[in-house]
């Protein structure tokens, strides 16, 4: 599960904007775009899915940043922590939206109140990072753990809120409760988002791990999540985007399937090229 190999090498900061974006740029881009998409729950599911993918890749990046230094308990736990915070934050977010709606009526910008949940969860993440890293308390001594945990709190909440918005079509408390939480869908959202955050780094763990390759896996898992959500939307929910939920859901399934297929094939091909060697079969050797 967690076996590190070799010393940790700090990555060079790229100059200017690169594809894929470097750690700092990705955080800002993902955070801003997902937040903006969140404010309009009337958008088609495919656009919300783009925001979801960005939020999950941002979360994966934070997991990767913090786990590089050896957490002791393994990579999966910090991903689960992020989504645990994500659940609480998302509940706060939708409750805030309901309060605003009940106070000022159904305004277009009412869903922006959900961002309050995101910020509150960022604060909780910051507090847990401080408690974990401070030498008088738990004292993990991992560089930038506070920043990492803050980002994880926010990314988890954004991801969960966007998924609520995709499945329920709105961010109001009662609607979300009925369509996404009481029927148990929140469980699959939780675990697949956890996987999207920690599986890429866990699956590519090793001394020759390369960030662009790891990011492709994150997009691939997010594509898979979109397929599952799309099936659910096509079957049961009704969205507020123009046509009935079935069209929206089918479009989401197609989008997710295309994203998944492209990234999966690309990743596997890249691995076959970059591995030590890829052989049909062969004997093994022992290196003394």
């Amino acid at each position: 599960m967690t076996v590190g190999g070799g010393p940790v090498v700090e990555e060079e900061k790229a100059e200017g904007f690169t594809i894929p974006p470097d750690v700092k740029q990705l955080g800002i881009i993902a955070g801003v775009i997902s937040a903006v998409i969140l404010i309009f729950p009337g958008l088609p599911a495919v656009i919300k899915a783009v925001g979801l993918i960005l939020a999950l890749v941002w979360g994966m990046d934070s997991v990767r940043k913090t786990s590089k230094y050896g957490l002791g308990t393994g990579v999966p736990s910090i991903g689960v922590l992020a989504m645990g915070y994500g659940i609480v934050g998302a509940l706060v977010g939708i409750a805030l939206v309901s309060k605003v709606v009940s106070k000022v009526g159904d305004s277009v910008l009412a869903p922006a109140a959900a961002l309050g949940g995101v910020l509150l969860m960022g604060v909780v993440g910051l507090v847990s990072g401080v408690l974990s890293n401070h030498e008088k308390i738990i004292g993990m001594k991992i560089p930038k753990l506070e920043q990492g945990m803050t980002e994880l709190g926010m990314a988890g909440t954004l991801a969960m809120l966007l998924q609520f918005s995709i499945v329920a079509g709105s961010l109001e408390f009662g609607v979300v409760l009925d369509k996404a939480i009481s029927n148990g869908l929140i469980a699959v959202m939780f675990i697949l988002s956890c996987m999207a955050m920690f599986h890429p780094y866990n699956a590519c763990l090793g001394p020759d791990e390369r960030r662009p390759r790891t990011m492709i896996v994150s997009v691939e898992v997010s594509g898979l999540l979109c397929v599952i959500l799309g099936i659910v939307v096509a079957a049961v929910a009704t969205t507020t985007w123009g046509v009935s939920g079935v069209v929206d859901g089918v479009l989401l399934v197609i989008f997710g399937a295309v994203v998944w297929l492209v990234c999966f094939v690309k990743f596997v091909r890249m691995c076959f090229e970059e591995a030590y060697s890829t052989v049909g079969t062969g004997m093994i050797k022992t290196i003394e």
Partner: protein, 316 residues
């Protein structure tokens, strides 16, 4: 509508048998696609110079991984059930989709981890990759199918026995999630010992813990030729797998049985008398505590027997 007591206990026994099968196949699947704790040795082997032909499936611990497959299966089954499909169709289709997700994650994990070990000269053997897809999928399918069936029966226990008031309050995907985590945690705690301590280090002496200096130097050769996971599952199916299945079956048996016995003795059944609720809970708790104390005594006896029979450590 009164509950038919006999039907209730019959469904409960069916859940126990399904649990036994589920956890046995879960452990065998985690041996076929090396997952969780013993996989750390498969990961370590190239780093100490031992190139191997094992399937390095490093998805995560077994608990979140099984939570994933079972929850996906539960959601798809729930979608089909809500559209009016019969459970006999919905549950296997859900399990198939869950297994498809499983395979995707397995492939990315194996190739990803092997690529990241480029400097240790570990190649990707394509026949290892392709040849283990079927065993992983089929073993996992059995486990996921049984867990989804358990979740379905539990969320409809009352409806199947006469009174919907006895249905479990959690939704089906949530129940599948809970049992997925539990089955993964149990399989990881019990079955992995047989795989890790015994089969992975088969050429080391039997009857002692595996010393730190052995770590990484796993047994890479089989009865004939080079070992892969297919040689491992057959061995663990004779001891580790069934023991793990027994664990989960017994746990589910105790959990459900003591609740139902409590309800029966306190006369909460067959008409769900609200007044008997508290005493039903008390009886359930007392029965559970007694069983736990018996197990503590059992462990005392077992450890004492092992110390007497095996004696102190001989050799250096």
């Amino acid at each position: 509508m009164p509950i038919e007591i006999a039907m209730l206990f019959a469904w409960m026994l069916l859940i126990v048998f399904l649990a036994l099968v589920a956890c046995m196949f879960e452990d065998l699947e985690s041996d076929v696609g090396s997952q969780s704790n013993p996989n750390s040795q498969v990961q370590l082997a190239p780093q100490v110079g031992q190139v191997h032909r094992f399937f390095n499936k490093a998805i995560s611990g077994e608990a979140p991984a099984y939570a994933l497959y079972c929850t996906v299966a539960g959601v798809i089954a729930w979608v089909l059930l809500s559209k009016g499909a019969h459970p006999i169709i919905a549950i296997p289709i859900g399990a198939v989709v869950g297994e498809a997700v499983h395979l995707i994650f397995s492939v990315t994990a194996h190739v990803g981890r092997t690529t990241a070990q480029k400097r240790f000269e570990q190649p990707i053997y394509l026949d290892v990759l392709y040849g283990h897809i079927m065993p992983i999928a089929t073993h996992g399918f059995m486990a996921t199918l049984c867990i989804t069936a358990i979740a379905y029966i539990q969320s409809n226990l009352g409806t199947l026995s006469g009174n919907p008031g006895l249905d479990h309050p959690f939704a089906l995907p949530m129940l599948a999630f809970i049992w997925g985590i539990t089955v993964g945690a149990i399989g990881s705690s019990t079955g992995d010992i047989h795989y890790g301590t015994e089969r992975e280090f088969q050429d080391r002496p039997f009857g002692e813990g595996k010393r730190v200096v052995y770590h990484g130097k796993i047994t890479r050769y089989a009865d004939c030729g080079v070992r892969t996971q297919k040689d491992i599952a057959a061995f663990c199916a004779k001891f580790g797998g069934p023991c793990t299945g027994l664990t989960f079956g017994v746990i589910i048996l105790f959990e459900n049985w003591r609740t139902l016995v409590g309800m029966q003795v306190a006369r909460y059944l067959p008409n769900l008398e609200a007044a008997a609720g508290d005493s039903a809970a008390v009886i359930g708790i007392v029965v559970g505590l007694v069983i736990g104390v018996v197990m503590i005594v059992g462990n005392l006896v077992l450890v004492r027997w092992a110390r007497k029979r095996y004696g102190t450590f001989v050799g250096e």
